[in-house]
């Protein structure tokens, strides 16, 4: 494969991966969530997609990997047997990997804020600072906050602390 052809294929693969939504947030791409780490095209055309999990025990990992595998295999009618999806141990995921599009959609569609370490969290509705109600939310990656100004219950996707 020439370098240009390889680059074009990589772009198509990236677009295919970007079409896969996170199962918990329909409408938010796993690429916007920062799960895509690498696309490697070998000299023989073997393709390896490297993904990183938000948390080690995320129960959606197998489902996401299957969907990415199917989406990538459909690009240029690639041979599915030559496409491999790997969950990488490193780097560790943080909310800093979420794109602006991802954050905006989370705020608008899911009333979901993100938090790195112990930084203050702004209410997605009114912008005021929230207070932590519980460290333990509806899934491992989320905590429950309250907004004292607009009384909204806010889910907060977190990392690092």
């Amino acid at each position: 494969m020439s370098r240009i052809a390889s680059a074009v294929t990589a772009i198509r693969i990236r677009d295919a991966v970007a079409a896969v939504d996170d199962p918990e947030y329909p409408g938010i791409s796993i690429v916007d969530l920062g799960l895509l780490e690498s696309i490697d095209i070998g000299p023989d055309g073997d393709i390896t997609i490297g993904l990183i999990p938000t948390f080690s025990g995320c129960p959606a990992l197998a489902m996401i990997a299957d969907e990415v595998h199917a989406a990538v295999s459909a690009v240029n009618e690639l041979d599915a047997n030559r496409v491999e999806v790997r969950w990488l141990n490193t780097p560790a995921w943080t909310v800093d990997r979420i794109s602006k599009t991802g954050r905006d959609t989370m705020a608008q569609e899911f009333t979901l804020a993100v938090r790195n370490k112990l930084e203050p969290v702004a209410c997605p509705r009114c912008g005021d600072e929230t207070t932590e109600d519980s460290l333990f939310g509806s899934s491992r990656c989320r905590a429950i906050h309250l907004c004292p100004s607009c009384a909204e219950v806010i889910e907060v996707m977190r990392s690092g602390a």
Binding site: P53, F55, S56, G57, C58, P59, A62, E84, R86, W87, L88, N89, T90, A92, S134, L135, F136, G137, S138, S139, R140, S159, G160, A161
Partner: protein
């Protein structure tokens, strides 16, 4: 330079994987029946993490031993399930603490704290492992473990000063301590793992530090008891509870052995 993968090193990684697996399993026992909803969610999330760490460690056990050179993370989930569930009890390397059935809430909370405080010391010893996949898993796991400790410490901060709750928790501690010390009982392979740079030092070299943590946390001088090591025999002997636990864990798998998950 990659370290040579030997049965001894495999056994060393397997022991940690088995502990994580069974501790995660025990935490999940509280789903739906924890004293209040927040605890239900907390134990669910924490158990999920431990099972995730177990899967990462099992992947290393399988992947590093794969002569085709496939590395841990690419290992198929079914291969992980196979090593996680399809082994004779004699091939497990878990410690007795994680094999003990879940009892009451006080025991669960104290065991959670004892396990996670020791687990932190265990990840630290391998965070600069020459086995790169293990060092990477340690770095990621340690980022997640703060959450477990914050949960256990948060509850104990509230409960320990209460005279009734404090007594119940100290009584659970007295029951659990002799078994908990067995966490530090090394597998025979540990010496080879140290030699190869897979781990920095014997895990039991951290026992005095851990005892100090226990003393500070529970404001009590724990009774030191070294029976666990002679009972476990380098983790080669399973406790009386193990077979029941394994059959419970495989209950759904056993419903239809031919099913593909």
């Amino acid at each position: 330079m990659p370290i040579p993968w030997t049965p001894a090193i495999r056994e060393f990684v397997l022991a940690f994987a088995d502990d994580e697996h069974l501790m995660g399993q025990q935490h999940t026992e509280w789903i739906g029946v924890a004293p209040f909803l927040e605890e239900d969610l907390a134990f669910c999330s924490i158990g999920q993490d431990e099972l995730g760490h177990a899967a990462s460690l099992y992947a290393i056990v399988i992947g590093e031993g794969d002569p085709t050179g496939a590395s841990g993370p690419s290992v198929d989930n079914r291969a992980i399930d196979s090593v996680a569930f399809d082994r004779n009890p004699g091939r497990w390397r878990s410690c007795n603490l994680v094999e003990m059935p879940t009892q009451d809430w006080a025991h669960a909370l104290v065991r959670h704290w004892l396990y996670d405080s020791a687990e932190q010391l265990r990840w630290e010893l391998i965070s600069e492992s020459k086995l790169a996949s293990l060092a990477e898993a340690a770095v990621r796991a340690e980022r997640e473990e703060w959450f477990h400790r914050r949960h256990a410490d948060g509850l104990l901060d509230i409960l320990m000063p209460d005279p009734t709750a404090g007594d119940v928790l100290r009584s659970a501690l007295a029951d659990l301590m002799p078994v908990a010390v067995g966490m530090f009982d090394p597998v025979i392979g540990e010496a080879a793992a140290i030699e190869a740079g897979v781990t920095a030092a014997p895990f039991d070299s951290r026992l005095p530090l851990w005892i100090d943590l226990v003393r500070d946390r529970f404001d009590i001088d724990p009774v030191l008891d070294d029976r666990a090591a002679s009972i476990q025999q380098h983790r080669t002997v399973r406790s009386e509870h193990f077979e029941n636990l394994l059959s419970r864990m495989c209950e759904v798998l056993d419903l239809d052995p031919a099913a593909i998950w």
